[in-house]
Symmetry: C2
Subunit: 609 residues, 2 copies
């Protein structure tokens, strides 16, 4: 339910809620005798009852004098803890490789009842059509979806080509139409702090619309820049890697969204800010998932996994719970709607076994029981997508020749090339060099030296000049064997087709396998497709469940291991090889982009003369 709908429903229900609270009529659901984790006061209140009426909480206290109706659902909470539903204030649904209904079905059993998805992956593919479609798919879900308007599409205009671009007018439109509830992560922090007028024009739209603006400030220790960023209106950031950085952000008025995703595991490095300052007010600290794979959700849970880890690391339980409930609600300026178990709030309520494991025994969302003991109890209907949404790959059949790297005729013998060094689990790469011997006027992969080819192929509908249709480079760090390749349209942020391989033929096979799936990931060895994950929705998401998608992704991960790379979840690292806002060397569809600290990004040649 979106905020406006919730306001209308609440405004029409106040008299009914009052009658229920007064004990004149029964509520629709009553929870009896649990221990309330009161996130407002940070106190535990034992033997508490909660009366829910339709979507809202009517009463919290001793309900022994209140009537129970014939149709009142009665829940025994004795021996259990009552928590508010968890709020993930920054995340990307696309990272979980399923669409929104499947995502909702996947996370509700784990107690996340509100998400703030920045859907900038699919917006890179479809532009404003994605923003509108995403909002529409959220409408009837028993999950609160507060969409964050993407503001960095593409990540660096002029150096890469996505399917669309987003400007200030688009941002304004999204707010006017009600398609977005807050402003998505501003990743172009150099643009903000150095005063890029285009970036500030987008920031201005968020401020004028009264939206909460979220940021991405990744320069720890650069305090002038941090102040400039916050002064520009960005009051939340999930991009902290050090405890001192987190403390500085909180102190300067920026909510710290401590991240603990599948691959980016900052939380353990941030909690010392809290543990070493036990007297500190922690209201500015929250926790988020940012990016989690379907495997993480299916095997470990969603935001509750982050909560569990925080407590394991030593954060006091109630404080940790506040970070994923009331603190997040206050970040969003929505604490009258979500974030606490209080009268008038949406009835998003969890029953858990204890305050260490947080096993979800029951999840109530908007007044209805949606999950029990880890299983969904309410069917969530699938969404009927328009054709353009599930057919987004505009790509000719690939051949081995397409992956040739010719050497200019004036260069003879050995050739020095730039090499992208991937480091599994890290968001950045290193820029290296290698000397290759040309054969037949071209350069080839050399698996013995861990040198694969990498290619980025434009795959969107928009027409672009031929010279931007594909680019080539070399990659090390994946240790791919001879005769292997992989291809993926999960390739931040433009989500063009990324192909990596040690053999041109295999690269073509992998690329065509993905092409046939309408998007996704394929791993190939000796002409055989070892595993294929079909992601037809925007080339990023399956239409299967989280569980099914997790299984398919596990097969892909297994295949990548067979192909030579043993690191877990390495597909997440691979998916960043085209993200040119990161250092040091990445590949866009226009070519290699180098980004070194303190310098603007620049194109560099593959062959060093």
């Amino acid at each position: 339910m979106d905020r406006k709908t919730a306001r209308y429903r609440q405004s029409a229900s106040t008299a009914a809620l009052a009658a229920v609270a007064m004990g004149k009529v029964p509520g629709t659901l009553i929870i009896r005798g649990g221990t309330l984790v009161n996130v407002l006061t940070a106190r535990l209140e034992t033997n508490m009852d909660v009366i829910v009426h339709e979507g809202f909480i009517a009463f919290v206290g001793d309900a022994s004098g209140h009537p129970v109706g014939e149709n009142t659902v009665v829940v025994d909470a004795s021996g259990r803890y009552i928590l508010p539903g968890l709020i993930d204030s920054h995340m990307h649904v696309e990272s979980s490789m399923v669409d929104l209904p499947s995502f909702a079905a996947g996370i509700l059993p784990h107690g996340t009842t509100t998400i703030c998805p920045d859907n900038h992956e699919m917006t890179n593919v479809f532009g404003m059509k994605a923003v509108e479609l995403f909002w529409k798919t959220s409408e009837s879900l028993p999950l609160k979806v507060l969409p964050a308007m993407p503001v960095c599409v593409p990540s660096i205009p002029g150096m890469e080509d996505a399917g669309a671009s987003i400007g200030p007018g688009d941002v304004r439109k999204a707010y006017n139409e009600g398609w977005a509830a807050l402003q998505g992560e501003q990743m172009n922090f150099p643009g903000v702090i150095f005063g890029d007028p285009d970036v500030h024009a987008i920031t201005a739209e968020g401020i004028k619309a009264g939206k909460v603006l979220t940021g991405h400030y990744a320069a720890p220790g650069q305090l002038n820049g941090l102040n400039a960023f916050i002064a520009s209106g960005l009051t939340a950031c999930h991009e902290s890697t050090r405890a001192d950085e987190a403390l500085e952000k909180a102190s300067r008025g920026m909510y710290v969204q401590q991240r603990y995703g599948t691959a980016w595991l900052d939380l353990p490095n941030l909690v010392p800010a809290i543990l070493e300052n036990p007297e500190m007010d922690t209201r500015m600290f929250t926790m988020v998932t940012d990016d989690v794979t379907p495997i993480t959700i299916a095997r470990e849970g969603h935001l509750v996994r982050v909560l569990r880890e925080a407590v394991r690391l030593g954060v006091p339980a109630i404080e940790a719970i506040q970070m994923v409930t009331i603190n997040a609600a206050q970040l969003l300026e929505e604490s009258r709607w979500i974030g606490s178990v209080s009268p008038g709030r949406s009835a998003d309520i969890l029953l858990v076994n204890n305050l260490r494991e947080y096993t979800m025994e029951m999840v109530i969302s908007e007044g209805s029981i949606v999950a029990e003991n880890g299983s969904l109890t309410t069917p969530i209907p699938s969404y009927d997508y328009p054709d353009w949404a599930v057919n987004s790959l505009y790509l000719p059949l690939q051949t081995a020749d397409d992956f040739t790297i010719p050497v200019p005729t004036d260069i003879g013998g050995n050739v020095e090339v730039r090499v992208i060094r991937l480091i599994p689990g890290m968001v950045y790469t290193k820029s290296e060099r290698a000397v290759l011997t040309q054969k037949g006027g071209a350069l080839h992969a050399d698996p013995d030296r861990d040198l694969a080819k990498i290619s980025m192929i434009y795959r969107h509908k928009a027409h672009i000049p031929d010279e931007r249709r594909r680019s080539m480079g070399f990659l090390s760090g994946l240790t791919l064997k001879a005769g292997t390749a992989l291809a993926s349209t999960v390739s931040h942020d433009c989500h063009n087709l990324l192909v990596i391989g040690t053999d041109d033929e295999e690269m073509a096979v992998a690329a065509n396998a993905v092409r046939e799936s309408g998007g996704g990931i394929a791993v190939v060895q000796n002409g055989r497709v070892l595993a294929r994950l079909s992601l037809p929705f925007a080339g990023l998401m399956s239409l299967d469940s989280v569980e099914k998608t997790a299984e398919n992704l596990e097969k892909v991960e297994e295949a990548i291991k067979i192909a030579g790379c043993p690191h877990p979840s390495v597909e997440m690292t691979i998916s960043l090889l085209g993200l040119i806002v990161l250092g040091e060397l990445h590949l866009s569809n226009r070519g290699l982009v180098e980004l070194k600290e303190g310098e603007p990004p620049r194109f560099v040649d593959l062959i060093c003369r």
Copy 2:
């Protein structure tokens, strides 16, 4: 500056703020080397600099590397504490008997930089014209005024007559026009909890408009009702008198606005909730003034007086400061604008000598120094009011005969009458009875037995039937001497003309003295006006300064003492004698109204048969 204007200004300034933060250009003001009271983290940060650019904070930290311009104002804060400007989230300007510009001039030197005035006194007089006018007078002030839309005008429809009434359509209009920032106190809590549709229709307008709704729940211990009230959307309340009540409200999701006004001094009774629960999160606790006389402001200060008292009572200083800064800002869902000294926020900054006395050495509002060492340094222009605003008394000349209480001819000898017993300093009265001997077919005051006459005379422009033009009763508790009377148009909530006296002639003289002033208070003894406070603006406010009005009010208080009543500030208690939402016996222009606990209000006869 209102919120919308602030948003536009900030949206246009972000690049400039970023440039200042980056040290590329100087700010307009720099504060050097103070101890920052960081209300976000509850930590003290020593040797901190703050750079302000125009109305906003650009940088907080070590500014030794930042440039200082020719026109940069440099403030040395060494040895001083840096605090955010104080936020009073519930108050009535009219109680201070001056208009808004004078009020701003009076409180800014005391460090209050944001007020949320519920102007329901003047709205009882003028209706929506008052709401619009109030908003207009706030526009150019160096004080943030977040008007709270009055919702209880009159307090009990059908039992009294004000100059206007407010319905749901008016509330909606105020939000649509931008005249109000939040919803004013819903005093009719029985209407809310028992489901009065008219009251819920008004509540619905606030919820639909996304406004914070403030309440007035005055039934400690009635927890069903409290839940019903909060479930109806009211999330802030200044009407707590007991610590357990305050704790219950905070626990159930209602901000506690601990009151410490001139006469209603609840704070000492509430702070045990905090002192006895030192581990509690106090984010739901704030402090407000509600009603303070100009004397209190001139002699003791404004919200800082409440802060000082909280600290004196034992509340830890930083927690107490949070209650009048960040907690209030979060109550208002405006913490990105006000409530902390952080980049991007409005530059509302205080320098104080220590954290006990809070002597205001400097007050900066919206980037400008507005006061130093208790004195205003910026002129605040007066407002040119339309004629209707300063000529609001529609009242014929009064004569002694107008105050006669005739006895019906079928009643002979002694007559039992109802008597309102005033208790100085209390908001409620007691309903008593007395036996009087009629003389000449009428009943008379009896000062020897502390029995004065009391009259409520309709004084607004609207036409009403003759039988509602005036009412009579008896009053004890003021111990007025023979030959004395007082009259006042400060008479909550309808602000009709209240006249009290021991002699009909003197009552007429007092009433006519107020009539001549166009509203206000007059005290009379033996035909002589002892003191007169002219309040021509709505019959409630002077157009003088706080200081001048305080002096005149002190003369009135002195005169009341001469007339027989020694209690300090008793005019505040007197002003509630017409407030029929309070128990037990009050006088509206339609007659005596009795309100006993658990019963609806009802008209009762003066003469008991």
